[in-house]
């Protein structure tokens, strides 16, 4: 009996693992920064290079930080969604312009619309490394104490905003964080 049953059980277990594996995305690396305060940083603002954007910006309000760049194709895909979300005014959306050219970034926002309340300009990409960024676009949800609560990797879609972001924002508001 065992002689016939065992191979079938082993095969079934393997199929189970492989089936699950088909739907996992190895490009999505969980961030160890979730639940930690935002990294300390100081960057010039995109629109006003003489003033600085620091982690202080994230105190006192729930906010999003969207990592983007003009060279990033997927950032173009999410731009309309982000613009629409920002116009609703649920939470402020901040930008981190990652390893970009200032001129092209300003042109893009002027031409296609600017969803950002403010944009930090990270020319070297060093601050992005402190945020654990490895590929734009990435979006962080930050609570009013400046703690990172959630990170979405990849272009935002209306579906992701409805299912992943809005419920989390509502929960943070409910608990007063």
């Amino acid at each position: 009996m065992w002689r016939y049953l065992l191979p079938i059980v082993v095969l079934a277990a393997l199929i189970g693992f492989f089936w699950r594996g088909l739907y996992l995305n190895p490009r999505i690396v969980p961030s160890p920064l979730i639940g930690k305060p935002v990294p300390v940083f100081s960057l010039p603002r995109l629109h006003d290079p003489d003033s600085v954007f620091t982690q202080e910006q994230f105190h006192g309000q729930v906010a999003l930080l969207n990592v983007w760049a003009t060279w990033c194709v997927a950032c173009r895909d999410e731009h309309a969604t982000l613009l629409h979300f920002a116009q609703q005014g649920v939470v402020p959306v901040y930008g981190l312009d990652y390893k970009d050219d200032r001129r092209s970034a300003l042109d893009w926002l002027a031409k296609d619309g600017n969803p950002y309340a403010a944009v930090a300009f990270d020319a070297s990409g060093d601050v992005a490394i402190n945020w654990g960024v490895y590929g734009a676009p990435e979006t962080f949800l930050i609570d009013s104490h400046g703690v990172i609560r959630y990170k979405y990797i990849g272009p935002l879609t209306p579906d992701i905003i409805d299912k992943e972001l809005l419920p989390r924002i509502a929960a943070l508001r409910r608990t007063g964080t």
């Binding site: 190895p26 690396v29 969980p30 654990g132």
Partner: protein, 138 residues
């Protein structure tokens, strides 16, 4: 023919090609060796099957620059490893640490070996038993 063989042989060395950076090598060979050893231990998150030593990705170049600076500042291997893990998690390590969520990864092969041994011993014993029974038979 000779040429083709030579060309193919050259191809064998392609995989050991390293990405080239602008920073100068360390004056001190020990630091240079430490730097080269370190950058082989971290995974590039953009092209995940390459180490940051091999990868041509922009992000890998940034990591090399950071690690170069940290080695130059005299930080220990441990501190540099912690720097990477704090930001990107254990996934950046090609050599994952032994901890509860990796016990199966590290212990799995030994577990399979153990099961195989049990199966082997059982089968051998049964065979031996059957042989004996046959000898004792008519």
């Amino acid at each position: 023919m000779k040429r083709i063989v030579l060309l193919l042989c050259c191809g064998l060395f392609l995989s050991t090609a390293f990405a080239i950076d602008s920073q100068p090598p360390f004056a001190d060979p020990a630091s240079q060796a430490r730097y080269e050893h370190l950058i082989r231990q971290f995974r590039c998150l953009v092209c995940q099957d390459e180490s940051i030593a091999n990868s041509d990705a922009d992000l890998a170049a940034d990591f090399r620059r950071q690690i170069h600076a940290m080695v130059a500042a005299g930080q220990t291997d441990r501190q540099i490893k912690q720097y990477m893990v704090n930001r990107y998690g254990d996934f950046v390590l090609y050599n994952p640490p032994v901890q509860p969520n990796t016990w199966l990864l590290w212990g799995g092969p030994f577990l399979l070996l153990f099961i195989a041994m049990i199966v082997l011993v059982t089968v051998v014993r049964r065979r031996a038993h059957m042989d004996k029974a046959e000898e004792a038979g008519p």
